[in-house]
Symmetry: none
Subunit: 213 residues, 4 copies
DNA sequence: TATGAATGAGACTTCATTCAT
DNA sequence: AATGAATGAAGTCTCATTCAT
């Protein structure tokens, strides 16, 4: 019952969907889709249960929005990195330095966990993630690696497998921390792990690994 | 109703728990804990819903049994491997050759996916898996790596991180296949991936990687 | 097994129904009909669940048998007592002395509690108990009281109500003990309570109560 | 489906718990706890099954609420009566006149039947009823009776047993009507029964019962 | 006759979704 | 736009009853 024209401290309704998606991410990531309760998401978002239905038709739609929202920023990021295609080793090192920062800011790991965990229940999401993010990233790397092999910089071997090798250390570290740190495991220092892993894999891939930093 | 000769009841009490756990694994692994329906598990096991409760008190107990059952064989396997500590590189190569076979026979990947996905909902399971399997495996490897570093065989660096680097390629390949192959992605050849990954990482770790196979 | 003709220590199958009814009484009396589980009755009777169905078609039949079995002995007892109709006061005193003994031996109170508690669920049983036991007993007493009133021994008043007054003390005492003694209440000494109650009521009923014992 | 003008939802949160308890009392009293079905309670209360869980966490909680609700009014009533302790005989006569009215308005008998019938399944309820209602009432009466004995008004004898004798007629009459009237028995006129019973017992208790009304 | 593993209908309970306010 | 009481379908779990042994 504020006098008209005084919406000073009222939250903008335009922000609501984003707030809800953020809350939903938190709950979905910790409980999984089926075990997540809309009541908890509503509470986390600071709105009523009914309000969720003003922005999303169903719980599934909310989940899709969460997953989709995790896609866009990464897509842009990766494409930009790939477009600037420098020497392959530099690309790898740049990503190894940047990705941990991204992972700490954006909830990539949480969303990836959801995609992996619900892939059987939401195959469209698995498909979208593969077709738009995971597949292109692997292809981009594999392409750069193949080019480097042609130039004699990288040893023979399956370029896609090399791409997996490069990315795997960071991902496994993130998953380990997410899964076991809450039950008392000593967490990994993700940036350090990423750095060591990429240097190690690069040293194993390159024909002339001499120039180690 | 039933065709003659189809006994309505079978009496195989001793076999039932194992059959049910196998069926439960299938369903839990594909749907997750919360989305799995006991009706489906019962159908998969070829028994009635009620029969499940002759062997497991609750759905949660059934899940615990599934996860616990995935633990024991791996424990034995890993301990045996670690006990025979040969030169570090040989150990790594041996495991890289054996693990893909194990992973294809036993549903390690499926169970690991469940542990990761439900870690927040079943922290005891995450704890058991860490304390009894994941933690010891990492520790065993880290120990062997540190020893090799002391002998000058392995370059400086965090031994636990090296252990993660070694294992990560296989695991990421398994997860990729589990997640994206059903939606049309080209699956990785797991043994080949494991071999190339371990060779690459070893080449990057060892001070004198000359002796590549 | 045993050589034929040597059934020495085997329980007679002729006793089974009785044993089961006894066990059923115990369980029904403590849990009520609906909350009683056949498994518990079977365990109490020392037989398997399936064996119950060799003697009773359904759980309800078992309950009916329990209630019916509580009926017969009491019927005979009461009719014998009424047949010998001496001076009314002596009848009352005799019963007041005998009934507590009966109540301690036979589970009248337990069965009565069941009849009262399940009267809405098993109206036939309530009807049988009323028509064959409770009604006749009240009628017998009311008849004797009316005769005593005609002889001037008992004051004016509703004979049926007088019958209720005479019986009520014992019954309430039994119910109190059954209900509240298990939760720590000091139980009543039933024979003493019955004696004092009957003497008190008689003293209030009789025109010349002088001859108190 | 619904006739127009019949709102599907009513919003009466404040009234609901009371309505539900009333409905639950009806059903629990007629069926007993275990045999009562929530669907029937919901229908009786005019709400959906799910709505019950907005106000009570479990069926047991609902039962507890029903029993507890039958406790408070009686407590107040009895305490008020005992506080005004006039000559003992007057107290007894006053209660004999009042209690039947109370019993006809409030469902004391129904709730008492439930407490008795479920005492073994819900010992806490039996304990609360004893400690807060039945025990104090008996103690209050016994105290008044002992005082009257000290003044020479009441004959020797166990005061607690006298209290039971006084109360028993009314209670047995109520139970008889509840149990056997539905199957065709002639019901007792409860106020008349209570009056005659109390006068009879008083006449038997008092040393000088001359002043009979 | 006796067993007890197995069944399946039915109960309690949860929660995504609706809608009067 | 927002609320939250209310719904009802669906899930977990219980247990009287059946039947191969």
């Amino acid at each position: 019952m504020l006098p008209a024209g005084q919406p000073k401290f009222r939250r903008r309704k335009a922000d609501r969907p984003e707030e809800i998606v953020r809350a939903a991410l938190t709950v979905f990531a910790s409980k999984g889709f089926a075990a997540a309760r809309l009541e908890e998401i509503a509470a986390e978002a600071g709105v009523s249960k009914g309000a969720l239905y003003l922005y999303f038709a169903t719980k599934e739609d909310m989940f899709r929005a969460v997953v989709a929202q995790g896609l866009a920023p990464n897509l842009a990021f990766i494409q930009a990195a790939a477009a600037s295609a420098p020497a392959f080793a530099d690309l790898a090192r740049t990503l190894a330095a940047l990705l941990p920062q991204v992972a700490e800011r954006a909830p990539i790991a949480a969303i990836a966990k959801m995609v992996i965990g619900e892939a059987r229940n939401f195959p469209e999401l698995a498909r979208v993630w593969h077709d738009q993010l995971v597949g292109p990233v692997i292809a981009t790397f594999a392409h750069a690696i193949a080019a480097a092999q042609a130039r004699g910089e990288v040893r023979p071997g399956d370029p896609r497998a090399y791409a997996v090798s490069l990315a795997s250390g960071l991902l496994l570290g993130l998953v380990f921390n997410e899964t076991f740190a809450p039950v008392g495991a000593a967490p990994f220092d993700i940036p350090a792990l990423a750095r060591q892993h990429v240097e190690t894999v690069l040293a194993g891939m390159l024909t002339n690994p001499g120039a180690r930093p």
